[in-house]
Symmetry: C2
């Protein structure tokens, strides 16, 4: 007996259908529910459960709170040439970011590059999802998203910037295995600090600070997460705020630090068309990947991994074997299903 | 007596003239020497002495070795719409990157964004220099450069990627104070490890590895530098190689790891025109900067700094008081001047 005995495993398509049903019953339109469920289950398939279906109860709550607007009609508010700026009117994050990715892709058809920024989105989820679409179409994708202060700004004792992530993807000759870098600008995922707390371990210096803004190695005392490599992480996060928020006329950090309410989020997707660069690109990306994988593993490591590779391997495993849902996630989804009168798939009850 | 007594201080314009004379005598054309000297002295002015005039003897050596080509005639080799790809034919790095910045700026006039990649450059120097030019013209600049393996790839014991830097700059309402993020993807500058070695101190885990590829806290044992935040730094560096090198048909990492010779370098500059985004951008960047500077300083810190701010303050100090040249740098420059029969400015002898 143990945690495993409380974990059920469910097929990804079944889970995606259930997720879409829950979102639909929670106020999303059918199309919004479908797009959002696909993004969430993609994260679960890749092992990024923190960005998977466990988010659904909060998304439904956000509809009730007016933080997600199912009636949103995203529209272009400005742009020029290869640049488009959209206002998502607080549409679900996956819907807004999918639209930005499609728009950037179309712009890159004409201009070699497309840059689509989208303001007033809600939670974007795992942003690797949006750049991977570009890579699977043979393009290079770059995505960034911005949200409210969640992380210490280097040199300050306060949360002054978000953990703003950046993702970059490039195609290889295998459409199922692009390179997909997807990283936050924080030193570490909050989940790792929580795991050390639960396990009674100390954490390395540089992960978090206590209530006085001092670095601590005691995970029970962590009040805020520190940026990746000090000024690099908080500086990069700040410049993502400039690119995704300030440029699009929806500043989040300045408003939040001045005491404003929840400012939502912003995102951007840039797409490059390798044919504009004139090279046999995916073959050369293969060569690069092979060279990296040929490096000697570090002591204690068995293999060298490419960006995104662990996720793709987990995706193959979970596509076959199903997605494990821990007790806490499952019970919260079942409670939501009961409340919204949504049918629960067999195997999940 | 001490290090200070061996340091002379020289006015920036005098130093820039001397630097240009040395480069000219070392084989650069007058224009190449002028562009390169301006970039090097900019780095000195900002306190980044490791990227300043101390590079000149190596640059002259690189001309002799054929690694810098003073006869280079950079030309466009491909492109489409907002994208241009140049081949710099091993022109001096500052010349190639200035050209890329100008080209990206012109493209952004027409398309809202310009993306100019330039292959076969030589050492680019402090890449904040190129994006700062965009910011001073009211644009947003993004630059990246790629070079040969210099840093451990996360999960490997070997140097598999470079310390590829990224720089992002945005204008404020003060043309002399844009935001300028300029960071490498390494955990720490090699100079900090050398300083700990000279000072007999230990270094934190995560900075470097020994000859066996194991992390060490003994700076005397460091054989290679580790990436910023493990997989984040090496993953970002790898994707910069994809964007700057693989896309432009001049792969560096795959070639170097296969035992090829010195592959030179590649770079890119992207420029965004805020007017395409339709917002009163510099004023909003000011607001963001003011909000960040209003955060409470960390314990032990007196102030919170914006990206690039320390460099601008140093620049103001050194513009007035002159640039300090330590004994080692000065003697190497004087030796080069003697060898090349270049007149040495008063105050430097």
């Amino acid at each position: 007996m143990g945690a495993d005995s409380d974990t059920v495993t469910i097929g990804s398509l079944t889970l995606q259908g259930f997720a879409a049903d829950l979102l639909r019953a929670g106020g999303f339109t059918a199309d919004q529910a479908q797009q959002t469920a696909a993004m969430l289950v993609w994260a679960n398939l890749r092992g990024a459960d923190s960005h998977g279906v466990l988010r659904i109860p909060r998304y439904v709550e956000m509809v009730q709170l007016g933080l997600i607007n199912p009636s949103a009609e995203p529209r272009q508010v400005s742009g020029k040439g290869a640049v488009a700026v959209l206002d998502a009117d607080r549409a679900p994050g996956a819907v807004a970011m999918n639209l930005a990715a499609r728009t950037a892709m179309q712009l890159s058809d004409v201009h070699g590059i497309g840059w689509c920024a989208v303001r007033s989105i809600s939670h974007a989820g795992a942003i690797g999802y949006y750049v991977q679409q570009a890579a699977q179409a043979g393009r290079v994708g770059i995505a960034m998203t911005a949200s409210k202060p969640l992380m210490i700004y280097h040199g300050s004792s306060a949360e002054g910037v978000s953990t703003n992530p950046i993702a970059i993807a490039a195609p290889t000759t295998n459409p199922d295995r692009p390179l997909v870098l997807d990283m936050s600008t924080a030193s570490v995922a909050l989940g790792k600090i929580m795991a050390a707390r639960d396990g009674g371990q100390t954490i390395p210096a540089g992960w978090g600070v206590d209530a006085d803004g001092r670095e601590t190695t005691d995970p029970r005392k962590v009040k805020a997460v520190l940026p990746m490599s000090g000024p690099k992480g908080s500086g990069l996060s700040l410049m993502i705020e400039v690119l995704a928020s300030v440029l699009t006329g929806n500043p989040l950090i300045a408003v939040a630090l001045a005491g404003g309410g929840d400012p939502g989020g912003n995102g951007l997707v840039a797409v490059l068309d390798p044919s504009a660069f004139g090279e046999d690109f995916p073959i050369e990306v293969d060569r690069l990947g092979a060279a990296i994988k040929g490096l000697p593993p570090a002591a204690g490591s068995e293999r060298v991994y490419l960006p995104g590779e662990r996720g793709f391997e987990e995706m193959e495993r979970r596509s076959r074997a199903g997605i494990p849902l821990v007790q806490g996630t499952r019970s919260r989804l079942l409670a939501l299903a009961s409340k919204l009168k949504v049918a629960v798939p067999e195997g999940l009850t």
